[in-house]
């Protein structure tokens, strides 16, 4: 339908929500695919637009009904001018200001206009360089020492035991063990019953203690790190834990920040500092932060720093938001998120910064985002807990019946008890006749109750817990050893960090995924370029090992190379060296534009070879990085950037370009430009941007053919799924430059509406451009991602992508990963007020209803496939939605959507979104992510996949072995080895996954059916021998032997009936278990000091014994077999069918190996399930 135009969103620099923009249009722009002849929305565009901030009433739904109702395959906007998303904008944004020219950036200007007064009540006052006064306020601010450990020496024992006894099984074991300690009740040996529990508790405690010791140690190291703090006018080293709010701290390059601080000044004259926030949000690129010009100028004079008052909001978790203002010389300056650097960030590419601590210790945003790791319980375990409670009720009922009967019996025989041969109430052996083991009525009944608890405790399958855990260990073993989950490139295996959630992997309904590093490789790759109307698309991949072919420059005896190489097109490479031909000139300009028109910061990185250094480009936009690397590979290497100029090494010659001005990307213009003073004394403006807006400002009259050629190239790039950018240039005459310069100066110093003014200036200079060319960049998806997402969707799993990325990037990845398809109707929500959020949600829900009505009335039963919804929502809107009453609406909407994209979300919001689903449904959720920013979400979800989580319970598990009896072995073996279907079949039909989501193999109904079945089995096992041996000479031991053997055989045959794949091991386990029971019985009955001596051998000689055994097994199994066969034939589920098909070859039985290949590398090898 749209010929890949969905990939066409040219994305450039981060979409700055230009602060202070006068108009904040928010559109819900939806497209309905047209598949029906009679659809009223055949033009398929429903547009919701409105200015929610200023003019909420203008919000409306317009449905453009086209006059023709029968356009098939029409696209909802012509050509590649496809724009299903519109941008909302708001005041707060992070890093919207990639490079700042001059002293005042647009961002601060933006904040001024949309400045919000911080309520004094809610404010935290920080007196700069006056920690004493700062901390003398009503509320004590937290110190900077942190604590992640759980226990102290004193609290360890009680707390650890308390936590351990959260497991119901342990409490149960404890109760049984205590009961066994009472002499009146001792059914089993006393020590024997307490030992296993004590053992398990001890091993777990040791493991926990060790883990906590390690946490203590890392806390101590962290707290004792040194930072340079201004004390009495001089910088002194101070331990991190001693830092207080209000202190002025100096941090040098590559150091980690000890607390959240507002920047006062930096080593850069313009007040720029670069930080890496990997520890916070997982993004590895550099972010720019600014010191206010007012403080930047003061700080070098150290003594002058005091007297500032910062009023900021209370500590919160939002790492992308900060609101404060600073009083300086009676003036108030507002501070935003770009003025604060957070604990855990690393200072990069900046010699030093000086800042004032505003949040310390546990109040820092990093620590607030560090939610504790909750332990995970699998759904199976939860259900098991529930059912065990039911069984316990049974048990109690049974024991009550027993004790009541006992009471009645005692009462009936109260006169006879003292004499009765088999009871004997009195002990006559002593001279004085005493009661023998008789404690009176009430106690007798009570003791019988407790005794029957001990006797019937087997009803509660407590060993099931242990069996299940052992099964998980086995499953984890196979997962870890799976060759298909091995990642060659990182040489790492799958790791299973939490054993208690394995089985949930089969019931996932929602997958929450991080984008960067999970869906994508976080690698933009320059693929091809169209320069001067010629398509250079024949790039050869230069392998990184092949260093000689890559471009490098010689500087001071050092060889500099770009860290990443791109595919080089030989023709383009040759042209780039011929500066003097006409074509060469064009290519020269193009490559200079790539190298100069960006906000990239070059860093040099050491390599193992001291003579070789790598140039690494850091910037907020991966697209720009890719372009800069591309330019470098063609010999236009950006080697240096300072505030006023850049140095580009062009074919070995270092040339200095003065950066005179920069117009940032904004969502209206969708382009950015730099005004550069070139070495040849000309002033040029380089512009790059989205094709949609670039072609409007290009002077087509210059070379119409070239423009057309470029347009067709662009079309082909975007249909290949590349992200395209158009690059243009104009040389400014002196008068033009001066005119621009004066208006630029005045705009950037304006106090009100600065952003709007700057945009106007930009629009004035960005016109009549000469088209240089276009580039195609691939945002490399991880291998197999589209296939995987496709499979997930067929499997009925809803995929949500949560990313800190910009909306555009997210959407374009959504398309390339097939998360979003052209068939989907997109609902975009980005707002900055609660009311507008509510309105948007309501509208979206109405839209959904409308759509579903439409499809229902027109498409009959096939509507479900066509009106798929995709929800795109951003972090700021989520701020107003999560944890408010709007959550309900969001959930309602989101649960109707096939795909959900959340952009610009903070780590804790990710967890909030997961909680949104988890708290409202029983559906299983899985979160996958790679960075520290995903931790909270990973911990929240039922199943977490990622790198995190230290809690391994292997040690406990190992100790639990001691409690398992051999009869569980077959169950465990089957649990580990059995598979219902082969991987080939499962991959062919992802829908089969639905069985797990619907809980077909284990649910409440099945539980009760199984209970009934087992009741019948126990009836058969008990009453058949009872009736057969009535009136006979059979002894206790002999009949006991028959019963135990019957039960073991029944249990194993029962299990065998459920086995799907019989491996040799399965045979050994099941039949071996029966055999082992026989052998055990024989051994026990061969011990002369036990009462049952030789009983088995005597009874085994009789034929009645074997006849009974056979009878029990068959009679016990018949109902189960009948039901099983009946269900399989008459109400087969998908698994049944697929299994039959697998066996009888009705499915195209393709080779599983070849089928696996495309996805074989899919699971990220670094993935680890976490608790």
């Amino acid at each position: 339908m749209m010929k890949g135009s969905q990939q066409q969103w040219p994305l450039l620099v981060p979409p700055p929500r230009t602060p202070g923009k006068e108009e904040l249009p928010i559109d819900i722009d939806s497209s309905i695919p047209v598949s029906s002849m009679s659809k009223p929305y055949s033009d398929s565009q429903i547009e919701m637009s409105g200015d929610f901030v200023r003019n909420p009433s203008s919000h409306s739904i317009q449905s453009k009904s086209s006059s023709t109702h029968s356009i098939k395959g029409v696209s909802f906007r012509e050509g590649h001018d496809l724009n299903p998303v519109s941008y909302g904008s708001r005041g707060a944004s992070l890093g919207s200001n990639p490079v700042r020219y001059g002293s005042r950036g647009a961002s601060s200007g933006g904040f001024t206009s949309s400045y919000k007064e911080i309520n004094d009540e809610d404010a935290r006052l920080v007196y700069v360089n006056d920690p004493g006064r700062t901390n003398q306020q009503r509320f004590k601010f937290a110190g900077n020492s942190i604590r992640t450990s759980k226990y102290s020496i004193l609290t360890f024992l009680p707390r650890n035991l308390f936590e351990q006894f959260h497991r119901i099984a342990y409490i149960y074991f404890l109760v049984i063990a205590i009961l066994n300690q009472l002499p009146q009740l001792a059914v089993f040996g006393r020590e024997a019953s307490i030992l296993p529990l004590a053992m398990v508790l001890f091993v777990t405690a040791v493991k926990d203690a060790y883990e906590d010791y390690r946490r203590h140690r890392s806390d101590r190291i962290e707290n004792n790190r040194l930072a340079s703090v201004l004390v009495n006018g001089e910088y002194e080293d101070k331990k991190w834990k001693d830092i207080c709010v209000g202190e002025v701290i100096k941090v040098s390059g590559n150091q980690t920040l000890p607390c959240d601080m507002v920047l006062l000044s930096t080593s850069d004259a313009t007040g720029v500092a670069y930080v890496q926030t990997t520890n916070l949000d997982g993004e590895s690129n550099l972010k720019t932060r600014y010191a206010k010009q007012e403080t930047q100028m003061r700080t070098p004079v150290v003594g002058n720093i005091g007297g500032l008052l910062i009023k900021c909001e209370k500590p919160n978790r939002n790492i992308y938001g900060f609101q404060a203002n600073m009083e300086i010389d009676g003036k108030r300056i507002s501070l935003g998120p770009s003025n604060i650097i957070l604990r855990g960030c690393e200072l990069k590419n900046t010699d030093w910064v000086v800042g004032v601590a505003v949040y310390a210790g546990k109040e820092t945003k990093a620590m607030l985002n560090n939610a504790g790791a909750p332990s995970k319980r699998s759904r199976l375990e939860k259900r098991m807990n529930k059912e065990i409670i039911i069984l316990s009720i049974f048990l109690v009922a049974l024991c009550t019946v027993v004790s009541i009967c006992h009471g009645a019996w005692l009462r009936r025989h109260r006169e006879e008890l003292y004499l009765m041969q088999f009871y004997r109430k009195y002990d006559y052996s002593e001279p004085e006749v005493k009661k023998y083991e008789y404690y009176g009525w009430g106690m007798e009944i009570f003791f019988v109750f407790l005794m029957s608890v001990i006797v019937f405790q087997v009803m509660i399958p407590i060993s099931l817990y242990i069996s299940v855990e052992l099964v998980r260990i086995g499953q984890a073993y196979f997962m870890i050893r799976d060759d298909r989950m091995f990642d060659k490139s990182t040489n790492s295996r799958f790791q299973c960090r939490a054993l208690n959630i394995n089985e949930d992997l089969g019931q996932i309904k929602y997958v929450f995924s991080d984008k960067t590093g999970t869906l994508t490789e976080n690698k933009m790759e320059f693929q091809c370029a169209s320069v001067g109307g010629v398509d250079y698309d024949n790039g050869k991949d230069i392998s990184t090992e092949d260093w000689q072919t890559g471009y490098s420059v010689q500087v001071d005896g050092m060889v500099l190379r770009p860290k990443m190489t791109v595919k080089l097109d030989q023709d383009l490479l040759n042209l780039s060296k011929m500066e003097h031909t006409n074509e060469g000139k064009h290519v020269y300009d193009f490559l200079v534009a790539l190298a100069a028109c960006n906000t990239i910061v070059p860093l040099t990185v050491e390599t193992s070879d001291p003579a070789i250094k790598l140039i690494e480009y850091q910037g907020e936009s991966p697209d720009e990085q890719a372009l800069a690397y591309a330019a470098a590979s063609y010999g236009f290497m950006l080697v240096e950037r300072s505030s006023g100029h850049i140095v580009i090494d062009i074919q070995g010659k270092r040339q200095r370009f003065n950066v005179l001005g920069l117009h940032e990307f904004d969502s209206d213009r969708k382009r950015m430009s730099v005004i550069v003073g070139c070495p040849d004394q000309t002033v040029k403006v380089f512009v790059k941007g989205a094709d949609t807006t670039m072609f409007k400002v290009i002077d087509k009259s210059l070379n119409l053919n070239m423009v057309n050629a470029t347009e067709s190239h662009l079309h082909s790039y975007s249909s290949k799924g590349l992200r395209t950018l158009v690059i243009g240039m104009r040389e400014l005459s002196t008068s033009e430059f001066e005119q621009w310069q004066s208006s630029y100066e005045s705009a950037s110093t304006a106090l009100m509406g600065r952003a709007k003014l700057l945009r106007k200036v930009a629009n004035n200079v960005e016109n009549n451009l000469k088209l240089l060319g276009a580039s195609g960049i691939e945002d490399k998806l991880q291998q197999g991602v589209p296939e995987a997402i496709e499979s997930l969707r067929t499997a009925g799993i809803k995929v949500w992508v949560l990313t800190g990325d910009k909306q555009e990037t997210a959407i374009s990845i959504g398309y390339s990963s097939k998360l979003l398809t052209s068939k989907m109707t997109q609902i975009v929500i980005n707002n900055n007020s609660k009311d507008s959020c509510r309105k948007n949600l309501d509208d979206a829900l109405q839209l959904y209803k409308k759509l579903s009505n439409v499809s229902h009335s027109n498409d009959g039963g096939h509507g479900a496939g066509t009106n798929q919804l995709a929800l795109i929502i951003d972090g700021t809107s989520l701020v107003y939605i999560l944890e408010t009453e709007l959550e309900e609406k969001l959930f309602e909407l989101a649960s109707k959507c096939t795909a959900v994209l959340c952009c610009r979300v903070a780590p804790l919001q990710k967890a909030g979104i997961v909680a949104l689903i988890k708290n409202r449904t029983d559906d299983m959720t899985l979160a996958i992510g790679d960075g520290a920013n995903d931790v909270s979400m990973i911990q929240k979800a039922d199943v977490g996949i990622g790198i995190s989580g230290q809690e391994g319970r292997q040690a406990v598990m190992a100790s639990d072995f001691s409690m398992v009896i051999y009869t569980s072995l077959p169950t465990i073996v089957v649990g580990i080895l059995d598979k219902d279907l082969g991987r080939g079949t499962l991959l062919q039909y992802p829908q089969l996954y639905g069985a797990g989501q619907r809980g077909e193999s284990y649910n409440g109904k099945l539980f009760w059916v199984t209970i009934l079945d087992t009741m019948w089995q126990s009836v058969a096992a008990f009453f058949i021998p009872l009736a057969a041996y009535w009136d006979s000479t059979v002894g206790v031991s002999a009949l006991g032997d028959l019963w135990i053997l019957a039960v073991v055989i029944l249990v194993n045959i029962h299990l065998a009936m459920d086995v799907i794949r019989w491996y040799t091991i399965t045979h050994i386990a099941i039949w071996g278990s029966i055999l082992a029971t026989f052998i055990c019985v024989m051994i026990i009955d061969a011990l002369p000091f036990l009462p049952g001596y030789w009983a088995f051998f005597m009874i085994a000689k009789t034929k009645l014994f074997w006849v009974c055994l056979l009878g029990i097994v068959v009679a016990g199994m018949v109902p189960r077999f009948v039901v099983k066969v009946f269900v399989q034939h008459c109400k087969p589920n998908d698994i049944h069918i697929a299994r039959e098909a697998e066996k009888f070859g009705n499915l195209r039985e393709t080779n599983a190996e070849t089928e696996m290949n495309p996805i074989s590398d899919l699971p990220r090898s670094t993935a680890t399930a976490t608790t």
């Binding site: 088999f422 976080n522 790198i947 000479t1033």
Partner: protein, 349 residues
């Protein structure tokens, strides 16, 4: 990031593995076991198998049932309940008083043989409502003491029948104390019928469980007299009535072997039994029966096994027919993908 580059950039910090030096590959070693590719048998319950299984069960069970039933019918059993009849009518309102008194408890019973009985004819006593499996009772014995002369003092589990003033009781405990003490004598046509009381217990018990050098001591010397007394000069291994009694019965209605009559009995023979009615079952309303029975390959007279087998066999035959009908009336091609839920008509529901 770029794994080929020797220097790892900060950008790759997300993955801890990338910084680790590459030593040897962590690739899991391939084996069919670890890759879960072991050969497996995947049985499917096809109609053939289902009907075959049911038929097989019925084919095995019905004959066994018939044979068992015949065997049970072949067993000749004479049961005589005597606990009430052996109390003089005048004393029947105080049975416990009678049994505890020192009156003469000899009692004459007459049995008529209904069918020819081939030797050996087993003589049992049968007790009803006697819970030899009671928890307190079962534990009240010392297997050590029974086996081993040196373990006389090992009476701890035997309370309250563990010690007397003159030392430990051998055999101690409630089981031994309550040893059955009715005796039977049989005459046919005024000729004594010999009851062989040897080898009525398990050989294994005589040889390994009851010591050849363990003799009864202080037995039934306590204040409360239980059941039978034992000859003090006969070792426990030869006290076969005790050995039989000590094999506690599993069920509250049980028989214990008293002896064997090793001559054939003819139909309509009249057997006179002289019995000593000593054992007190009256305090717990227990019944006492004297049983003469032959045996079959399946044991005593019990129709249950035969009936149960015939029932199960018949049921399975019936089920085989039912499933045959189901398969004929509503056939389903195995593994037909059109039965998959997503292939069925979605508008169907």
């Amino acid at each position: 990031m770029n794994s080929g580059t020797p220097s790892s950039s900060a950008a790759g910090a997300g993955s801890a593995d990338s910084t680790a030096p590459r030593r040897n590959s962590k690739r899991p070693k391939y084996s069919r076991f670890t890759q879960q590719e072991l050969p497996a048998c995947k049985p499917i319950l096809t109609p053939k198998w289902v009907i075959g299984t049911f038929l097989l069960v019925s084919v095995i069970f019905i004959p066994i049932g018939v044979v068992s039933l015949f065997a049970s019918r072949d067993v000749v059993e004479i049961v005589d309940r005597y606990e009430t009849d052996c109390i003089p009518e005048a004393l029947r309102n105080d049975k416990v008083g009678f049994i505890q008194s020192n009156q003469n408890k000899t009692c004459q019973r007459t049995l008529r043989v209904p069918k020819n009985m081939k030797q050996p004819i087993y003589v049992y006593y049968q007790l009803d409502n006697f819970y030899q499996n009671h928890r307190r009772y079962v534990k009240s014995r010392s297997d050590q003491q029974l086996r081993n002369n040196g373990s006389l003092q090992d009476t701890s589990p035997c309370k309250p029948e563990d010690n007397t003033a003159s030392g430990p009781i051998v055999p101690c405990g409630l089981i031994a104390w309550s040893l059955f003490n009715d005796t039977y004598g049989f005459t046919r046509n005024n000729q004594q019928l010999n009851v062989n009381k040897r080898d009525i217990s398990w050989k294994s018990d005589r040889e390994h469980k009851f010591g050849k050098n363990v003799f009864p001591r202080n037995f039934q010397n306590g204040t409360l007299k239980g059941g039978a007394t034992l000859k003090p000069d006969v070792p426990l291994s030869e006290q076969e009535d005790l050995i039989v009694w000590m094999r506690t019965a599993a069920l509250p209605t049980f028989r214990k072997l008293y002896g064997k009559i090793e001559v054939d009995l003819q139909r309509d023979d009249v057997i006179n039994v002289t019995l000593e009615n000593n054992y007190n079952t009256y305090s717990f309303s227990g019944k006492k029966k004297l049983v003469l029975s032959t045996t079959s390959w399946l044991g005593g007279k019990n129709d249950f096994v035969g009936i149960a087998y015939l029932t199960v066999g018949g049921l399975c035959f019936f089920l085989a027919l039912v499933f045959l009908l189901i398969y004929l009336i509503k056939p389903r091609q195995l593994g037909d993908p059109s039965y998959l839920s997503w292939n069925r008509n979605p508008s169907g529901h």
